[in-house]
Amino acid sequence: MLKVEHLTKMFGGLAAVNDVSVEFGANQINAIIGPNGAGKSTFFNLISGVHQPTSGRILLDGTDVTTMRCDHVARLGVGRTFQTTNLFETATVLDNLIVGHRLRTHSGLWDVLINSKRLQAEEKAAREKAREALDFVGLTHAENRYIADCTQEERKRVAFALALATDPKIVLLDEPAAGVNPEETEGLAELMKKMVKNGLTVCLIEHKMDMIMGIADKIMVLDHGEKIAEGTPEEVKNNPVVIEAYLGSDHDAAA
């Protein structure tokens, strides 16, 4: 599904991501963990095209996307969420989601001026897609609520829905469970399982080890920009390098 070969990103003299090769299988939950500053978010930014890598290759279903711009990568089916999602606070949840399907539409200024059939059809499609995504994340009841009136967990779900509205094949989730309570974390984990069940591939960065160990099919561990381990939760948990470099003395608590 997603294959990364010898990926390196230098910021000045600092290697934020250093010679990372990894393959994420389709229809799986893949987790990337590592201490703060390990290069996890940079790794996501490289895949989604926000940053251009210094060297290495990124293949999405065999297509080379290494030097593609962000919006192209999105059109090829890479959806993502951010640690914080800035949405239109005084607009409804649904209104915020409709634009998610914009990348699958073609209407321009002229269509707007003459209110063309194409525009009408595309707007209808975008609205339906938004409702579908909202239904998927279980927020249909909050459709008409302002974002400003949503809880942190609901915002997370809206961010998921927005990524889903782009019709992605793979979703990159950057700390999806940060700042939500344990029960809500459980709910978000269920949601990720549901995504996979519906044919999506999930990649996530997360610090909540309980959750990761419970849902991930594969874990990659980054430290100082380098991949120090990968494997199933069981393998990673028992890997001495990981315990040394990352879990350290917190090992018992984290596991």
Binding site: A74, L94, V99, R102, L103, S107
Partner: protein, 344 residues
């Protein structure tokens, strides 16, 4: 009670009432000067609608906006006074010139983000002003341009008179509001708003940032050019002071007071402030003593402006009463809560 009043304002028929009032205004006004002030306010409102597209919807603070207004005005002024064009060809040329210049300036300046973009465009605005003031061979320099052609009338309609020109400007204002509402409701408007929410997120949604930002920029400068061209045709004198950066800041004030990023914010803000300024004329320079604190209070307590605060209040009230959403949905298939403000 308040809610019912609000619902009345948001009723679809309200916009026709508003239009009828605008049409009847010359008859209701006690003298021609009031009609003249209103026509000027309409011109500024058109420019503020443009400002709202790039700054309100797309989130890019373009401080060169007043400069494009001046370019539109000078285009008509110079083409009619110096080159003997009729008004309407010059008017079209003004739109084309501001659109093309908007494209060129946008393509360069939009490579910058946030404050850097604002500072860059502030400089562009000032350069435009300096060019108008100093490039005497082209712009006549500080003495300005006289002898500008009035819009050519037809039949008995003579646009040299205040009342016909008022209706001409009203026509363009209504067109601009209509067009802006189309943009705002459409996927294009949503695209602009997504960019305002954040470049990163918009890009991750597959939105081509540069293309859409430039489009919003060109739409906004063309609006400014349209307003400037009408201004030149009505006042029939332009000078470098029309390109003063102060006008940009006035427009920011109009937009903030009315409600940034809302459909009726520019209209409410511009008309409101122009008329308040008129009624405080007797205070001369001291009116800023009233204006300053008023603005500070408004920005602190009503950051969404008159229109934005009203819509938010109405939405929450409707949600609390549990009648808003269903009603809104029934009214139209392609409805949104934001769209309701068309009716405000």
């Amino acid at each position: 009670m308040m809610f019912k009043l609000g619902a009345l304002i948001m009723h679809p028929a309200s916009k026709y009432v508003l239009l009828a009032l605008a049409v009847l205004f010359p008859a209701l006004a006690s003298n021609e000067y009031q009609v003249y002030v209103m026509a000027t306010a309409f011109i500024w409102a058109i420019a503020v609608y443009g400002f709202n597209v790039i700054t309100g919807y797309c989130g890019q603070l373009n401080l060169a906006h007043g400069g494009f207004f001046a370019i539109g005005a000078y285009a008509v002024a110079l083409l009619t006074a110096d080159y003997g064009w009729n008004f309407w060809p010059a008017f079209i040329a003004a739109l084309v010139i501001t659109a093309v210049l908007g494209f060129l300036v946008g393509a360069v300046s939009l490579r910058l983000k946030e404050h850097y973009f604002a500072i860059f465009t502030l400089c562009v605005g000032f350069i435009i002003y300096l060019l108008l003031d100093k490039w005497e061979e082209l712009t006549h320099g500080a003495i300005g341009v006289r002898g500008i052609a009035a819009p050519d009338g037809f039949g008995l309609v003579n646009f040299r008179e205040t009342i016909p020109v008022y209706y001409l400007i009203l026509f363009f204002l209504v067109f601009i509001i209509w067009f802006t509402s189309r943009i705002q409701k459409s996927l294009l408007g949503r695209t602009f708003i997504a960019i305002r929410n954040g470049d990163d997120l918009a890009e991750s949604l597959g939105i081509n940032l540069m293309k859409n930002k430039i489009l919003a920029f060109v739409i906004s400068t063309t609006y400014a050019g349209l307003a400037g061209a009408l201004y030149a045709g009505m006042i029939r004198f332009v000078g470098p002071e029309d390109g003063n950066i102060l006008h940009t800041f006035n427009m920011i004030t109009y937009l903030l007071v009315g409600g940034i990023g809302t459909l009726f914010g520019p209209l409410i803000g511009t008309l409101g402030i122009v008329w308040i300024t008129q009624s405080l004329q007797f205070l001369e320079e001291y009116r800023m003593i009233i204006f300053g604190p008023l603005l500070v209070i408004l920005v602190i307590f009503f950051p969404l402006g008159v229109s934005g605060s009203f819509l938010t209040w109405m939405h929450r009230k409707a949600q609390a009463l549990g009648l808003g959403p269903k009603k809104v949905q029934q009214e139209s298939k392609v409805n949104t809560a934001r769209e309701v403000e068309n009716n405000a």
